[in-house]
Symmetry: C3
Subunit: 327 residues, 3 copies
Amino acid sequence: MPKISGAKVISLGIVYEKRMLFKNRHVISMKDFSREEIDYVLDTAEKLEPVARGEERSRLLDGKIISLLFFEPSTRTRLSFEVATRRLGGQVLNLGSVEASSVMKGENLADTIRVISKYADLIVLRHPLDGSARMAAEFASVPVINGGDGSVHHPTQTFLDLYTIRRESHLEGLKIAMAGDLKYGRTVHSLCHALSLYGAEMTFVSPPELRMPPEIVRDLQKKKIRVKETDSLEEIIGDVEILYMTRVQRERFPDPEEYEKVKNRLRVTGELLKAADPGLKILHPLPRVNEISPEVDSTPHARYFEQAFYGVPIRMALLALAMGVIE
Amino acid sequence: MPKISGAKVISLGIVYEKRMLFKNRHVISMKDFSREEIDYVLDTAEKLEPVARGEERSRLLDGKIISLLFFEPSTRTRLSFEVATRRLGGQVLNLGSVEASSVMKGENLADTIRVISKYADLIVLRHPLDGSARMAAEFASVPVINGGDGSVHHPTQTFLDLYTIRRESHLEGLKIAMAGDLKYGRTVHSLCHALSLYGAEMTFVSPPELRMPPEIVRDLQKKKIRVKETDSLEEIIGDVEILYMTRVQRERFPDPEEYEKVKNRLRVTGELLKAADPGLKILHPLPRVNEISPEVDSTPHARYFEQAFYGVPIRMALLALAMGVIE
Amino acid sequence: MPKISGAKVISLGIVYEKRMLFKNRHVISMKDFSREEIDYVLDTAEKLEPVARGEERSRLLDGKIISLLFFEPSTRTRLSFEVATRRLGGQVLNLGSVEASSVMKGENLADTIRVISKYADLIVLRHPLDGSARMAAEFASVPVINGGDGSVHHPTQTFLDLYTIRRESHLEGLKIAMAGDLKYGRTVHSLCHALSLYGAEMTFVSPPELRMPPEIVRDLQKKKIRVKETDSLEEIIGDVEILYMTRVQRERFPDPEEYEKVKNRLRVTGELLKAADPGLKILHPLPRVNEISPEVDSTPHARYFEQAFYGVPIRMALLALAMGVIE
């Protein structure tokens, strides 16, 4: 049988002063990546985009087995990792949420990770507990990519948000509003941190109950990020380039009436958008409930479905870099 | 990376006067297809049959991702689509019933379809609601094949039934009996319509409670189809070429005793088959309960397992035609 | 489309006096295999090991569809069959436990097997009932590999245990201790039988409630196997080459206090291992509960994670032999 040569690594022609070292590196938290490293991942994703669209073929992950170990359901994350793997010619080993949680019950995560390391060439882990991805990385003998663990980290979501912003607008000095549940949303917390590396003007739009945690606001201000807080979309819609909407979950409100009020106030409608800049792009991690009214879908502002697509090239880039098949 | 050339379409050498247009066409209902188009699908399936049997290789769907989006379980339909895709060299993106129904909960079908359109090159949809496939097709940016929606449409089942009849007997002017639950069975309703395009003599065998709906009988008669109704298999077994059995479900009967009586009367046994034409072929969409006695399995009449196999080449044909890789 | 030539069978250069006949043979019970045949399977696994490790590529199962029909969950068995198939270039058709048990409900196993035989080139069956694999083999038109049925047979586990012992120690005249639940553990029963073909000194370590069934002990003694029984690991740890640990399940004990006592007595710790032979290797079919203390993991004695890996080459060998692609 043919030996796998070590010389299969290809170059996409992206050159940086400092040599980027991603091979066998775990992807656990955005905070582990410098701005230069993030740019390198985004550049790689852009090179791979035609493959993600099915317009070009790739065999970069030929012969590689990527294990998707999901201890809680997350359809979009799982599917985009699966598509990313397949479009690069790799194989997927699925361990779904039902199986993972019921069958591995009685075994500790460390043992599970050690066994899966024997089967697969890379592990994507989704787990409900804070810190589980970092812990898994310690026991794994293959690279681990955090597909979301607990309430803090979901780095591939942040990478895809950054990639979407770069592709649809621009990263440097961006005027962005984030709206919805800013208190519990790990997505926006992580995005704030990442955007702060590029400079930004940030507006946080939320009901008083769901404001951005003050320690995050203070941290941003220390980094010279201009921050504004409000509870009204009308007030800010004319002055932003990106509006990042998030869901407000009913469970956050003890009083259902209060939820109804908030829900309807933080809503993007055709009416609201009359005051928007023509270049405004609206993002949303999906699924949406009614934060964005359907008539918005057909406007050029709506980029949330394209954002879902961008999950594919960005995960391709992370998989290929961690496997060391491109550099 | 190599560009995917647009010239990959191959011809199987099937020539029709009118050029058939299937590329990017949705497959929602049998009523969307003319007799000539149906013949074209069946011809294509026949060409692909050696691939379905694993005797020949094909790369027709190489690099294509087929998403199986199943909101209700349907093992046979799912598996045969999966085998069809793989035998043609394509990739499957499975969204199982548990996941689909629990995770996508809170998101409307339109959004789900728009997201999956970004990931896959074609969507096979199975959904409990009438009309959901047609609706999905409106929101999809890729072809949609209806894998069964609600109580009316399940076109790939009808295509496979027609293909089975053509391979095992003949379509033109067929003498067919359909037996079992003819009132609620979408399979037989759709098959009646399709067979009427070829001319046929139809006998409907059912208990009085589960007779073929009168509007379907009238519709067939308008198309000059000779229709006979009875509740006895004995009476008709000597005079048909195809006997299409279906399940009678216990839930249809408020009175369990009534169910037992009906169940045992509409049963194909070795005894019954003594009066059958030697060329009679028995079909059943499966699973069966006890409509067909096990001693029948080893007779040359039994073609229901082969019928299950025919689901593979027919779904290959529909996938390849909708993807535009053959013409 | 290219015909699949029948000449694709490759030789790995393993030569036996007697020609081994595995093609289209079912793998149901260890008792169906002679010592020479077992050796042949182990030799084949060893040849395929670099492929299992991802160091070499293989297309032995290119174009083949392996159906994993699991009526009860068994993550390790399923995953290692899936990895084995993919590393050999084959395709997997997964029928998970949820689906298999809920959807196929109402259909008998014989019909299910007959249908899956139409879709796949080989069936791996996992089923809770004793004898179901043998029964399935009778109805299948493709080879069936028993992935565990009921309380007696799980031949691929035994093959992998033998392979692990051969790779990590030696088979002929082995000094082995088996510890834990020896009464209900099908794994150890089957391993006893298989090892008896090679001669062995066996020590059974268990609480009195969970002793090795006397008929197995008698059977071994008839075959001139030296057997010793004890309830103490300390007593025997200095005198064995392989220690095969198994789980003691809480459900076996009516009295929870009794369970706690037993559980803590049959435990491998760093302390215990001070008296062990330096060459001792510890195996465990996993998952473990607390039979092996974590500090043991980093010692050279611990081979249970490598044992999990060996499931891949051994299942590759069985798949390839049953499909007749090597000889």
